[in-house]
Symmetry: C2
Subunit: 204 residues, 2 copies
DNA sequence: GCAAGTAGTGAACACTGGTTCATTCCTTGA
DNA sequence: TCAAGGAATGAACCAGTGTTCACTACTTGC
């Protein structure tokens, strides 16, 4: 009555291949976004780049938004981690701030198309929600620096949240938006660093 | 042979009605954008709001982009003019700067949805090109103030273009992006004003 | 080798929303 | 009143894309 024949079980080898395919899809999507942005980055293109059928993408992600949300999440996390590491190195708040801004700027200048895609490019709602989360991550990172500066008396009284949001906006606008159209301009880095340092009152 | 009968000529009355219809279409589009943003603001909705048929919209604009470019242009010009007027009033650079930031901030807080649509909301390429133009208008406005400050010695040495871009980004991020989700927070205005003033070195 | 069941496929589908155009309605000057 | 021609209409069209699904190919345990 109960046929105990269980002919197929997902074996370790198969799981490994599945994981590899999934990784390949995400990598292909990441690559396409970094090179051409979200615009014109269709499922069909991703599938072609990952060498799978379009339908196969849906065996790993429920819909397009989920795929690109993951791409966005992993890419942004890498950037946040890099800047956070630079800011965590010991030193005065002014020095840590400068390192953070410089790290952000240099990385953005090194991958301008990706930076634009992560920070400013129009995306559909699913990815925008992810962006909101990471906007908070950026702001928190700088708000933490400001709070440290307030605690140590290095910075004048200010609302860390507002200052951090404004600082993040300043970096994004000064670096990423211009990069969108026209080439990189490395000379902005020291200017921007000075701007941010002054803006938080760490200029002395 | 040549029938001299030229039965129909566009008369002044007709022209007036045409202009009125066009104005109504733009007004309807503006209203929809200000209330719901570009997303979901279709030609069909605009036509309905303007009480014309969808096809009639195309008797006044070659395509959707042209209509929304005009909406964007007129709306943004109004904002730029208002801030420019505030900045033009006589006074120290620091005072003019504060007035400019406050004017920008108060107007954005008064019409948050519109502000978001004009500054940060994803738009299609035709409108984005228009936004690029006006981004330059904003930056030029503040670059002019920085240049004045440099000339008078009120501000320390800096690249007006970079400082202005960063300042505009700071205002946009601190005000508009948060407004997108969640309510208005008027308390940010003085914080933001202080931030911008410090950032340009006009703090003293 | 075989039955059971999963992974993979890609052409077809569905939906959205901008755009068109044959038709109707008006306006004009005689 | 009437012919001429522009203005207005809105249903139909079309293009681009995300998504599905009937089908094939493969893997597994016996």
């Amino acid at each position: 009555m109960f046929t105990t024949c269980v002919a197929y079980r997902r074996t370790a080898a198969v799981q490994e291949r599945l994981d590899a395919t999934r990784t390949r899809i995400v990598a292909a999507a990441h690559d396409l976004v970094a090179r051409h942005g979200y615009a014109g980055c269709s499922i069909a293109l991703v599938a072609e780049a990952a060498e799978v059928a379009t339908g196969s993408v849906y065996r790993h992600f429920p819909d397009k938004g989920a795929l690109f949300a993951e791409v966005f999440r992993t890419s942004t996390q890498r950037e946040v981690d890099a800047v956070a590491a630079a800011a965590a190195e010991p030193g005065s708040v002014a020095a840590r701030l400068s390192r953070a801004v410089e790290t952000f700027a240099h990385r953005a200048l090194a991958s301008p198309r990706l930076a634009y895609a992560l920070i400013a490019e129009p995306v559909d709602p699913g990815v925008e929600a992810e962006r909101l989360t990471y906007r908070a991550a950026w702001t928190d990172l700088f708000a933490g620096l400001v709070a440290d500066g307030l605690a140590s008396g290095e910075l004048p009284p200010q609302d860390p949240a507002v200052s951090a949001a404004a600082a993040v906006g300043a970096m994004a606008q000064a670096l990423v938006v211009p990069l969108h159209h026209g080439g990189a301009e490395p000379h902005v880095v020291p200017e921007l660093t000075a701007f941010i340092t002054r803006s938080l009152g760490a200029s002395s």
